[in-house]
């Protein structure tokens, strides 16, 4: 009982801190900076989720933008359908909005998770680069489907029925509440028996099988969780943008996600967090380079892979960086 109370207290405290930071952010920063802060949060969710399969499990997805799209469209559509119901039941206040928004996000995550399951079940038999290409293919197919779905606005995108678009529910508070929740959940998962098994699959799938690890089930589960996480990010994104359009989920978006996790270090949650922030900020810093921006961005990607393929943190977490390292630790040399 004491434990539960303590946890509840921490939970409330964290929410209060996030709320406070949100207020401070709105007071202290321009809308422009606030947007970058929100995007960084969404990126962090994407990166932490993608890292679960690309980093921890060693299964490579380069089509994750597709799952983000499913989540974004799902949350947008459900949100629009749900809002009048919520209004009738709970009035038009913040409670009603929060209710329908978060329910919509969960719905988006559910759709994305399901599509992750559908993609993952057959394709996770494949390894390495073949799996990567298949995920790329699925990502493109998903985008093409949305591009042709007239009830979701086809190429123009889906904006709900109001000309000003979807309600801008995505605030600092909600983004970072979700960031905190997802980081904690994924962290807990990574450092658990399941996480150990996923790492074992990455290290040596045959040995993992021999240790009775249900590799296929775990891989598919990780894939679905990762897709669902991308779905949450998509839902937040949709409600920040006030709309979704298929072109926002091109292959480039998947590449951005890859950059996020390799900058920080494949397999490291804190690395993914740093990477998510890095991509949001660096793309912004380079914005007025105009035509030269993406050339530099691509060069950056190549240079990182050559100079430091394990990323900034490698597989370590930030807090492990300052811990005394064991003699001859093989962390760095292992691949």
């Amino acid at each position: 009982m004491k434990r539960t109370l303590l946890r509840a207290a921490i939970f409330v405290a964290v929410l209060l801190v996030i709320y406070g930071l949100g207020v401070a952010c709105e007071a202290g920063f321009t809308e422009y900076v606030q947007r970058i802060v929100l995007l960084a949060g969404i990126n962090v969710i994407l990166a932490v989720g993608l890292n679960l399969i690309n980093g921890t499990t060693g299964q490579f997805s380069i089509g994750h933008a597709g799952f983000m799209a499913v989540g974004a469209y799902g949350a947008a559509y459900v949100g629009v359908q749900l809002a009048p119901v919520a209004h009738r039941a709970l009035g038009t206040g913040a409670v009603s909005n929060a209710f329908s928004f978060n329910l919509a996000l969960l719905a988006g995550a559910l759709f994305a998770g399901l599509s992750g399951l559908i993609v993952g079940l057959p394709s996770l038999r494949l390894r390495g680069d073949y799996l990567a290409v298949v995920t790329l293919g699925f990502g493109e197919i998903i985008r093409i489907l949305f591009n042709n779905a007239t009830f979701l606005g086809a190429a123009t995108g889906y904006f709900g029925d109001d000309p000003s678009g979807l309600p801008a529910y995505t605030t600092f508070f909600w983004v970072y509440a979700w960031v905190a929740l997802i980081v904690v959940l994924i962290h807990n998962l990574t450092f658990s028996q399941t996480g150990r098994s996923l790492t074992a699959i990455r290290e040596d799938e045959i040995a993992a099988e021999a240790m009775a690890t249900p590799t296929t089930r775990l891989k598919v589960t990780a894939f679905a969780i990762s897709a669902a996480t991308a779905g949450i990010a998509g839902g937040l994104f949709a409600h920040m943008q006030a709309g979704v359009r298929p072109e926002d989920f091109r292959f480039e978006k998947s590449i951005d996600m890859i950059v996020m996790i390799i900058v920080g270090g494949l397999g490291s949650i804190s690395g993914a967090i740093l990477g998510g922030i890095f991509v949001a900020v660096s793309l912004e810093l380079m914005r007025d380079l105009q035509q030269y921006r993406l050339v530099l961005y691509a060069l950056l990607l190549i240079v990182i892979m050559i100079v430091r393929p394990q990323g900034l943190l490698g597989r370590r977490e930030l807090y492990q960086l300052f811990r005394k390292r064991k003699a001859g630790s093989g962390l760095e040399s292992s691949r």
Partner: protein, 305 residues
Amino acid sequence: MTQLLQQIINGLSLGSIYALIALGYTMVYGILKLINFAHGEVFMVGAYTGYYSAGALGISAYEAQHRDFPVYLGLIVLVTAMATAALLGVLIELLAYRPVRNAPRLTPLITAIGVSLFLQNAGMLLFSPNPQRYPAILSEVRFEFFGVIVTNIKLTIFVVALCLMLGLHLFVQKTWTGRAMRALSFNIDAAKLMGIDTDNVIRSTFAVGSALAAAGGILFGLDQITINPLMGVLTGLKAFVAAVLGGIGSIPGAVVGGLLIGLAEQLTAGYLSAEYRDAITFVILILILLLKPEGLLGVVRVEKV
């Protein structure tokens, strides 16, 4: 019926271009187990080299006077483009892939994506993002058989693609370098034991694959009328799918795969909807990887435990 035949002819000509590009993917993958994502961009650079070298050889004057561009100049354009692309391919290998050759397998994959992005955007800077009309290196002549139209350009595509593929076949079967390539793709250490300079052979592989892609680029320009700096993205992916479909590492496989993808795409666009012409390629990719991952003409390899 006429329509079906027409679609098939169009599909086969598109497919021969895919096949030429797919050869590069399959050769590199066969030896390095690397999906050379930048190959599509090499194809693009090849097409642009053709564009600019034809311009340098004064093609606009011929066009203005409605005169045919001389065949020998056309061949010079082809050779220039192939040589430039070969050089580019070798450079990419040297600067971007060699440093990560011994890294885990996905590192070069990401590097390759980086190179691909780099070349796309550099292409936009250098060549402008506007689509360019491809110069009439070959003046168009049309033949009609019972309503089915075949142009000399389509015929040229078949002939050039066929010649290059035969040339490649002979090269791989009959020359020392070709044999060395096949040896490398089977067992790289054993190849070293034969005294083969493996770095050199890998370089040659990139050069040959890139040159074929450049030829594909020129044929593509002739056939498709316009080129743009992003032309390599989807075309490259489709050619890669063609290589996988045929059985990656297999040269005849790449040809068969290329033709099939071209056909599938054209028939989907003609009879289902062009909206799904790109999707069908990926559907084929997914199906083949799930059902017969070694491809139509590929060989199964047992994993050693």
